[in-house]
Amino acid sequence: MRPPWRRLGAWLAQERVFRLIPFVAVETIFVLVIIIPFLLTVYISFLKWRANRPFEQAYLSGFENYQQVLTDPGFWAALGRTFYFAGAAVALELVIGFVLAMLVARTVRGRGLYITILLVPMMIVPVVVGYNFTMIYIDSGPLNQLLAPFLEAFGIDPRVRWLSDPIAAQWAVILADVWQWTSLTFLIFLSGFSALPKQLINAARVMGATAWQIFWRVELPLLRPAIVIAVVIRSMEALKIFDPVVLLTAGGPGTSTQSIAFYLWEQVWVFNKFSFGAAASIVLLVIFATLIFFGIYLLVRQSATVARRIGP
């Protein structure tokens, strides 16, 4: 009779068991840390409960929280604002990232150095980015000094408080995001450009295509996968925007820069509206799940077409 640990070892080493070990371990973590809390949230979203009262005193209140969320103008305004931020930021990031990648792909001298520097923002902690841009936007910051000659010509005090103006503050948040995440779109497009088949482009050139034609008819269609990936990944990330908002404006002035993440955070951690927050996060999850599913679908379809076009 073998000792039990040897028998356990032998049992685990069987192929049908062995291959499931990591799967079970990872799924256990997901269940413990994500699924159970999620189910708990569903339950709490049906309660009437604020954190200033003990949990035991909470009582079921049906769909009241959901009704509150769906009729809350603040929630929808924050959601719309988030889409506005994400749309503006991602559009700018795509255009700038694409142009930079195209320029770097055609550069020979200093190429490595450019790539190194252009990728730096990605590695900087978002909170620090928020802080850095605060320093630049403040009324006695370098931005105002650069603008001072123009502003003084019109008789305006150059010490503009950018972050106190709703629209300027919104654009401050967007520009901070663009500063940081253009590096990611640049990276994606750069790997796209370096994967372009050279023979195809040379063939087009030999056949008399102009640079313009080569770009629109050959390079751009081949770069479509990279563009889809950049759009999907950046949009998903941009909709989560939170850190720069907290550091730059703390949602202000008024509510003009509250993203949806910031809005929910404030409702739960500042106003202690737990059951409201639970219901709102379920609503948000449903909205995002639709988008995520669509995004993953796009990615999967894209990788399938790439595989078909280039072959196994």
Binding site: E15, V26, Y114, L184, L187, F242
Partner: protein
Amino acid sequence: MTAVLEASRRQTAAAGARNVRRQRLRVAVRHAILIGWTIVILFPIYWMIATSFKEKHEWVAWPPHWLPHDFTIKNYTQIFVFDVAEKGVAREATEQPFNVWGPLADSLLICIVSALVALLLGTFLAYTISRFNVGGKHFRHAILMIRMVPPIVIAIPLLMYYAIMIPLAAETVLGTRLILFDTRVGVSLIYIATTLPFVIWMMLTFIEEVPYTLEHAARMMGAGRIYTLRRVVLPLVASGMVVTFLFVFILNWAEFLLALTLTHPDVVTLPVLLNKFQSASEGRLFGPQAAIGTIITIPVVILGILIQKHLIKGFSFGTIRK
């Protein structure tokens, strides 16, 4: 074909000097744009480092000082202060000592431990996904979904779970006090869960490059499963594991929302510490904040530059094929 090539070559020669000049202009414009963007990127970082060496009256001086006039390392000595005894002494708001050692240790511990655990589990899972197709065809995409869920949606449930449900369950089932809220274990757990998708995706690209025949040969010659994994597969993906570890470490290092919401007041990570001095009531401590920001940024940027080449590969998401 040769005729066409010949024709185009003749054409180029005819265009001659004009083309060369135009080419040079094009290169110059290209470099000008790239250098412009480089300045845009480097300026905020430079400004932070410059501020971290400025005296208090220079932080928001008008016109701003592009170089610190009174160069000082006071901001650094202030955050690395050791004298706990002096803490009780009332000081001016901008002179308050705030220790960066605790948060630094918390951040390092949480990030390293959770990155290691995620790396081990994720590599193992990526291996079985790649070799045995565990979880089915769409499992890897399902995993990616978890990463795309906004953290605020996870944070609200986790707060209630950590702060209420686990203590309640532990009390009734085990009869002991078990608290995850505001503990390093609690934060590490959620970091492991949120970074696992990245580990699995990155390790999949590395593991799929290891030829299956190699393992097969080892197995045929009688090597055990664990032995094959350890002596054949692991050495081949070791560099990939280092890259993945550093990448996940950087992700955790930068994480703010979950750390902010799941800890207070004991565990403080560096981003949370930076945010603490944002409150208007204390007066914005721009200098020490800049010093903290510099300390958070520099090591990560160096790590990032080290793994940059691999990141380019990891982020291609299948657009580059061998």
